[in-house]
Amino acid sequence: MIECKGICKSYDRPGEPPLHVLSAIDLTINKGEFIAIVGPSGSGKSTLMHILGLLDRADSGSFRLNGMDASDMNQGQLAAARNQHIGFVFQQFHLLPRATAVENVALPLIYSQTTNPEERAIEALCSVGLEDRIKHFPTQLSGGQQQRVAIARALVTNPGLILADEPTGNLDQASGKEIMNLFHQLNQNGRTIVFITHDRALAAQAKRVLKIEEGRLSEICEQEIAGVLA
């Protein structure tokens, strides 16, 4: 599904040498994987996530999503690929405050050709267990419910890949657990899930854990996860 080879990314800083956020990242993600990315703050997790999500371009290296080379794509093609193949979930939910749950969920369908956006949005809300909150505004929902609306929004275009940036970071433990259960369920239905977390216990729920430190990616094997947890 995803193939990265030698991805580098650095940021220019005025008056200082450029900051190398990612250096020579090689990563292959197969369909149906459930991956956690861990690492300290500022290690480049989010940058990697943005590159995987086609929101940012690598300075060098190749990135392929479903066989398409990101460096060959123009802005419009990138936007279309984000719409069709990727669903984003953010720590801050990013729901429109004055739009109802169903309107928020239907938002990505504005940017695609869909004949029945309302129905599809309601379907997506049902799949995250919010069938009785369709007309509610975000302020009328709990944090966990808001994040589930955001997940429904990520699912509404039926993408193969869900990218979640600290999806439980703003939630209490119980709600966080709910969200993780939802991700497990989605993964069982065949979706590829990649999520960033600080929480090692959450990371341990993934089938594969990647660690970024100082811009370098390393794989943590199962025994290590146990060790890290201990």
Binding site: H94, A99, E103
Partner: protein, 402 residues
Amino acid sequence: MNWNRLILSSFTMMVRYKLRTFLMSIGVVLGVAALVVMRSYGAGAEQEMMEKVNRMFSASSLYLQAGKGGMAGDPAKPATSLTLEDLTAIQDQLPTIQAWDPLLVTSANIGVEGLNRSTSLWSNGEQGELVWGRSVVSGEFFSKADIASASRVALLGDKTALYFFGERDPVGLEIRIDGNVYRVKGVLEPIGTDPHGMDRDDEVHIPISTMMRRVKNVDYISGAKILVKQENQVEETVAGIHQILMERHVIQDHEDRDYSLITPEVVRWMVARMNRVFKVFLPVAACLALLVASLVIANIMLMTVKERVPEIGLRKAIGATNPQIAAQFLLETFSVTVMSGLIGILLGLAVMAVMSEMASLKVIISPSAIILGLAAAVVSGMIAGYLPARKAARMDPVEALR
């Protein structure tokens, strides 16, 4: 891209952000309303004035005025050099002249059975009815004999007649003009207010000879209206009149004339100039108001763009392209301005309805005013929406989502 949904969502947001929408729309609503009112009022005023002018001053009429000219109220002392003999000479020598009627106006105190009131006193010759295009609705116009004998007869404006006699027919009854008894010969056809704002239905007319000999005791007139037989003879007639008068008044070419000749062309130009304030100046003022309204909207939209940075990042993440983001913000601005424009047009029409009802002003609902109002709304939308839309579209999604 699903345009219907984008349009629907921008209208939904317009309703949900009521205060913001209100603040954005109020300027455009008022500006467009003002524009529509001024345009329509200007069109109405112009048409009304043109109708009056055409009636009083057709394309084949000339107005000869004693003195150098200038506007009414000019401090120059009244010119006394224009006489009836001048006019007779002109008619005798110029075959293109159909008829003429002298003008001499003063004000007088009119009294009937204890009612007294000062009003303007006009005078006519025997061709007055034809020359001024104004006849009587009851009774008769002055006869040749009335003029020849300077008889004490009078014609009343219909408002004057109503004031003094109520529903009674005044023809044959007596009135006093400055204490002297006159017999009412007829009631003049009502013609409303003239372009100077004078109520032409509240006045009294007497024969020119009576005015000159009995009322004012003068041997000059203040002017005359001259009818030319055919429109295309106006130019040669003007030249002929100049020649005759300069000879009779012994004026050299380099000297100032002691009369002025107003042609239909000059009259139309003067009317157009009077209407410029409605047709040009006030609409320009309204457009300036709209420009300010656009800037207010632009300001509010720029603030919402700032406030909605995460939303812009999110929309880009879920597949919006830069042009689509720009389109969304333009649409949001447009939906507000176009709606405001429509409300403004309705408000303008309502104001005009009330205005024409209460002030009995002639108002024309000109399609051009409505089109202008809508165009103004769309243009303000473009002015207001451009910068915020561009700013939103250019935002880096990674930065925006941070």
